[in-house]
Symmetry: C2
Subunit: 375 residues, 2 copies
């Protein structure tokens, strides 16, 4: 047995007849054909990927399918958040239908969160639901977007406003691919790893404070951090698949974060999703302090750790300026987490003590943003 | 109590937490505000309709909402099958999001099958699933497409190939609206009514043979026929929501029918859906006879009744010519009812004795079509 095989971990997402495995470890792209063939009835696959990922992994992935007798077509899309559009959804659907992918065949997302969200949506609507496999190639996608079945595209009215819940049939998280990420991309994904600690796992957050350098370096600590993150998300999703309640906890830091992404026109040169979440998590702790829920020390501790790993922790660090508080508030109000005009927010009583609040006054949020925005 | 109130019927679709009522009877558009307000938590609605329906019903419908304090925006789309496209899906999504329809508000389809399928799809993907109300204004939509949660648009690769399962929260089938349908439209809807008899209700088919003139005339026989049809569909959907098995029976006549619609470019001047189904049901009986399953007398009986009500019953009656059998076969093979290359067909052992066959040889279908196509 090789070191690779011993290091592999499996996390099961329990969703009755839609349960599935997340395999985590090195060498999974090379092993993809075998893992897929043993689970899939059909023998046809459409692989959707992007211009950054294709040159590095597409040929290897297709070769791994071929040795198991699986026919594949592939479609390479532009990289970046703007690809989560109706325009590209239409071209993915067209590829899938042109390839005559049937109900027992599958659509594969080989890429990061953008490719996963877009491809999952296309798989969810092609023939009213086709089989779907995630092969996430970013840390962010491995620990967050590839797990849990949320798919979608962006609208001029806001991010992820159009989509479906469509669970994958399998997730292959090959940890070798993380070695090719830029440090900035890896850090952005790490923000979501830290999030699971901040939601309800204070011990995991403390472990990250001690071991983050090993997680960044790779090896067993990294696999451990990814598996813990996937398990945390799987538990939340199993309890509340369609976000009627506690699943909203996964949005810790995201309400502010999405507003900042919208305010920077989803321009990754200025801000990527994980960076928005990092700033958003710090803001969520500070806002909770303002609401007399959370000690200021907890906010400082969160800020210190995220800054230590190299993530931005305040709105001042976003290049190019931000709109006034009222405009950010408008972006927040158009986000999904609004019911009957009242604001739903993830607040916290301290590290690992987050909760869903559904009666946050808009005026408090605006006043808080005015205080925190760069002067 | 008025005659209207006594005549009203309710059919319940039993789908656990997605169960809903179908109300059938006169005056339901005028009563829409009350029926919706008593079931909906939110107070905002987006109404999607088309250029044919809007001048007759939109103002009345909006007025009925207004008296109950429900705010509504409306969008009027071109009428016809070509509206089931990505282009119009995008504009419906945009209207719904621009109106800030939230999870407790609703999207309403006021129209026939095209508007219902398109609007239901948009409701199913806006905010990953919004509440949805069907107000079907054609007989076809009342007895078929508004019930059961299949939504979708057409693709260059085939009809309804892109969509989701998204159940409505309420269906209001106002039988008064049927008086404004053209005889041709009414007959096309009647093909689906007859289908429920042919699937597994021989007594209902015999009742229709006796009472079809009363059904066409309106009044209690018409309401009875619609309620029986909705109940038949509700029973099938409750047993197999996502068409893993017996729901496919609802496709009796549709495999041939869809191929004929594709072959006539969905041009309603040449063929509308119900007419394709009528010809398709006759062909399904004749093909079953060829396969030694069904007495030729049953096919003749079906043909006689459908011809009597004024529906087309053979491919000769489609104006403008048809492509060769191989091209029709290709359209059939791209239809959804294909698994691992084998053809799934609804065949029959006689009136009211349909069944799902999943091993129909393609060569037999081609030979049959060659025989039946106009020379």
């Amino acid at each position: 047995m090789t070191a690779s095989a011993t290091a592999r971990r499996t996390v099961r997402v329990e969703l009755a007849d839609r349960s599935y495995d997340i395999l985590i470890g090195p060498g999974l792209i090379a092993a993809a054909g075998r893992e897929i063939a043993s689970r899939l009835k059909g023998r046809k696959i459409a692989v959707i990927t992007d211009e950054n990922v294709a040159p590095i992994y597409l040929d290897n992935f297709l070769a791994a399918l071929k040795v198991e007798g699986i026919d594949a077509v592939s479609l390479v899309l532009p990289a970046g958040e703007k690809t989560k559009s109706f325009e590209h959804l239409i071209s993915v659907c067209d590829s899938v239908l042109a390839a005559r992918i049937e109900r027992n065949d599958a659509v594969v997302a080989l890429g990061g969160g953008v490719i996963g969200d877009l491809t999952g949506f296309a798989a969810g609507i092609a023939r009213r639901g086709s089989r779907f496999i995630q092969v996430p190639t970013s840390l962010l996608a491995q620990v967050d977007s590839s797990v849990g079945g949320k798919t979608g595209i962006n609208s001029p009215h806001g991010k992820n406003l159009i989509g479906v819940f469509h669970q994958p049939d399998l997730v292959l998280a090959d940890t070798d691919v993380l070695d090719t990420l830029s440090p900035r991309e890896f850090r952005a994904g790490y923000a979501e790893v830290a999030k699971y600690g901040l939601i309800d796992k204070p011990d995991f957050f403390a472990w990250l404070e001690q071991n983050w350098q090993a997680v960044f370096a790779g090896g067993d600590a990294r696999i451990e951090a990814i598996a813990t993150s996937c398990q945390a998300k799987a538990d939340v999703v199993a309890a509340d698949e369609r976000e009627n309640g506690q699943r909203a906890l996964l949005n810790l830091g995201h309400t502010f974060g999405h507003a900042l992404e919208a305010a920077t026109q989803y321009d990754s040169a200025r801000l990527v999703h994980g960076e928005g979440v990092s700033i958003g998590m710090v803001l969520a702790h500070q806002f909770s302090t303002r609401m007399n829920l959370c000690s200021p020390d907890d906010g400082k501790r969160v800020e210190k750790h995220l800054r230590e790993v190299g993530l931005p922790t305040s709105m001042d660090e976003i290049p190019g300026g931000l709109p006034p508080a009222e405009v950010l508030m408008d972006a927040i109000a158009q986000d999904k987490k609004v019911k009957g005009g009242k604001l739903t927010f993830i607040l916290t009583r301290g590290v690992g003590q987050s909760f869903v609040a559904d009666d946050v006054p808009q005026s408090e949020v605006v006043a808080f943003l005015k205080e925190k925005l760069p002067k």
